[in-house]
Symmetry: C2
Subunit: 158 residues, 2 copies
């Protein structure tokens, strides 16, 4: 092997080893796939619905108001609500069956504002529910439902 | 119509109206179906996994430790963990595809103890993670993973 070629090999090998070492030192966690993100956000919505559903029945007069249960459910929704936005990384408009419209990622700032508004209403409901006042709780629930709908109307397929 | 028959009708109508009113006053919220419970608990597990997965990669040396991210994920798992037990009402051994063994409901007290132990480890991990110490965080994570496995080994089908 000629000297120049040998030198090139040594330099190349050193460069490869250095880059391997750099990767080992700053290993990024594996990014979630779009499918994982879609399944994640759908799961968050399902946990929300598990708690939102009984409150909705109360608000519609289909079930009687139970202050303790309502407070528990409102607290759970307030806890879950801020977890949603993580489930909408760019590129997750496709990858599994999803009702999310691609417009979300074209108007991401507005989408995020609607999410933030909803999180605020969920938090407000959880606070109000602690008072145990049926009418105030129902009114705060309707505020939250409106914030959900505002986003669904614009960014969710039927 | 004879008087006695008329009286019977009036009494019967009054009784029916009273029972309708009683139902309206103490309307139970609709109970979740077994299928809803199964979907709910699977969703809670999925939200847990979304956060547990990246911590697991760190614990296995497949990703580097990021104190802030680890703390966030540990906090989320601790928040979600107590939500699981609600998803195991009696009768929800069937109703949708589920890996939950029917033994859960035969040994429900033990199942609940394993769940409680896991919730404790999740809470401990969230506390430790706040310190930002990699080794302690990984150790607490392994404790949690062990508590998960203890229940999976006994009560989850492969």
């Amino acid at each position: 092997m000629k000297n120049s070629l040998r030198r090139l090999c040594v330099v190349t090998a050193a460069a490869v080893m250095a880059s391997v070492a750099a990767v080992a030192l700053s290993q990024e966690p594996p990014k979630p796939t779009p499918e994982q993100a879609i399944k994640y956000r759908q799961s968050v919505y399902k946990v929300i619905l598990w708690n939102f559903g009984p409150m909705s029945a109360v608000a519609q007069g289909k079930a009687s108001y139970d202050a303790k249960a309502f407070e528990h459910q409102a607290g759970r929704v307030a806890t879950m609500a801020p977890m949603l936005i993580e489930g909408y990384p760019h590129g997750s408009h496709t990858g599994a069956t999803t009702r999310a419209k691609p417009e979300i990622w074209q108007n991401y700032a507005e989408f995020k504002e609607l999410m933030t508004a909803m999180v605020g209403k969920a938090s407000a409901l959880a606070e109000v529910a602690k008072e145990g006042d049926e009418d105030k709780s129902k009114a705060a629930f309707r505020e939250l439902a409106g914030a959900c709908r505002a986003c669904h109307d614009k960014y969710r397929n039927d």
